[in-house]
Subunit: 331 residues, 2 copies
Amino acid sequence: MVLARRSFREAIIALGSDIPKPEFVNLSAGWETFNKTGVALPKETVEVLKSECDCALFGSVSSPSTKVAGYSSPIVALRKELDLYANIRPVVGVAAKAGDKPPVDLIVVRENTECLYVKQEQQIEGPNGKEARATRLITERASRRIGEMAFKLAEARPAKQLHIIHKSNVLSITDGLFRETVRGVPALSGKYGDVTIQEQLVDSAVYRLFREPEIFDVMVAPNLYGDIISDAAAALVGSLGLIPSINAGDDFVMGEPVHGSAPDIEGKGIANPIASIRSAALMLRHLGYTKGADRLDVAVDQVIREGRFLTPDLKGKSTTREVLDAVLGKL
Amino acid sequence: MVLARRSFREAIIALGSDIPKPEFVNLSAGWETFNKTGVALPKETVEVLKSECDCALFGSVSSPSTKVAGYSSPIVALRKELDLYANIRPVVGVAAKAGDKPPVDLIVVRENTECLYVKQEQQIEGPNGKEARATRLITERASRRIGEMAFKLAEARPAKQLHIIHKSNVLSITDGLFRETVRGVPALSGKYGDVTIQEQLVDSAVYRLFREPEIFDVMVAPNLYGDIISDAAAALVGSLGLIPSINAGDDFVMGEPVHGSAPDIEGKGIANPIASIRSAALMLRHLGYTKGADRLDVAVDQVIREGRFLTPDLKGKSTTREVLDAVLGKL
Ligand SMILES: CC(C)[C@H](C(=O)O)[C@@H](O)C(=O)O
Ligand SMILES: CC(C)[C@H](C(=O)O)[C@@H](O)C(=O)O
């Protein structure tokens, strides 16, 4: 986690005058924080983010795999607290030659505030044992704003294709609302007339992502499907350690590597820093610092293409520090 | 659909004395039926299945992609009506040489009656527009019986590994109940002590299915995750047109090819009959007709390995009829 933050910080500092006077503050969240303070997401973290920061990077944190009283995933809470309604996850392979079309090049636009992530769950003792229920919430408002975001991103791309991912053959009301609301965005906004709209059931979408990823350009999905298809897409480009994301709202943006905390390699210094560096790039691009963002991405592309400094997840032998230095050296 | 049924029927008849005196009855369900009769799953279909049949094959049917008043997916309804609580989906590649270990060899055991498939959905007009809610139900009873089925299948395999697929880092109550109940099966039943239990979050499971499918042996999952991971696994072996499944309850079993109705090739006579033939084999095995089931599977393996008669989904040029005849010729 510290190294993820360090990669992020050093990458931004290395951009020099492209990013005028960056200032950094460390804030805590997660399992370690919970063990120290009794809360996974301290109030102070949220308040400082809201009052003092323009953006943030969320380094992956560990969560316990069994239910622990009082513990709740801090990333889910942060998305809600800061109303970061769009989780944007570009999955882009690196072509063998600079300038060539990459083998996979798509963006997953994931709704980030509702679906089963509203975490309204109850358990009762029924006549045949325990019964647990969770609520899946889909609103017109949230579907519309994520739809807008997806259309905007699709329109800016050469292919201008938007796939709506749903399961409305089973969830005709909730996924039906998502699907129809997203479809309605062009009519409502009077924009995006040149974006082609397609659809795919979530199960088929995963199947086709594996079989023919080139058919996808921008994919928009409710929260849980988006979680799953972004991992599926990530598998296509070689390592989760490459995939960045941002959690974006109207007033705030938070970068987040898509990979988890990888407890199996913790402390070994070999975590891939690329997802964090690319998350910095994505965040900067979202904030309008296009030049700095491009420079970071080009530097990462070069390092991957050369293949001299790669972490073990990419079958290399380098450490996090060595890969970070290789990227910084290209800037 | 007719051809799927025909493949199924002819394969069973061709087994001769291995399956004593099979009798067949055609029953209707689906979109066409809905258009003719106003219901997607006629009462008669359910009643004849319950009173006269030992087993069934469900040929894929089309469902409309938008909500149509009165229409509801017949497969979901059939699973519920007949209490076919386990959806068993073996995904097995064909090794280049007979007797070799296939590249992918796993079974998805999907809970088939609850989760979001209970279809309890409502929509209201909220202060900011429409709001839709669906209920996700997980019970101890259903989790226990699917757990039992999964352990039983895992125990019969060389690797004896069971992966529980869930998302309890977000859904700590519903997926927590699923996870703990399945984990509790060995203690409760006093069996399965030699099965190794592992876990994987659903998003990571999809990622790892792509990256290292060999780590999976038997996977047990709540309904929706099972739907998605079985499609993901299917992508690994070349075509959805190869993947069989059964919907099994305590008193009835229904075969079902995992692929959909493939409207893009409808009427062309080139749908892959293998998923239907393998579904027949799986169903027969479940009913205790091991010898007949093995003969069918071996015949299919031979046809795939020879590669002379394959449908276009496997890059071949044969028709459904030709592939079916090739398989029957091997029996
Ligand atoms: C850690 C977990 C709560 C999170 C999610 O499901 O959103 C993660 O999988 C992600 O994709 O960011
Ligand atoms: C057709 C649809 C309702 C069904 C499901 O989701 O169960 C299908 O995808 C399947 O896997 O059998």
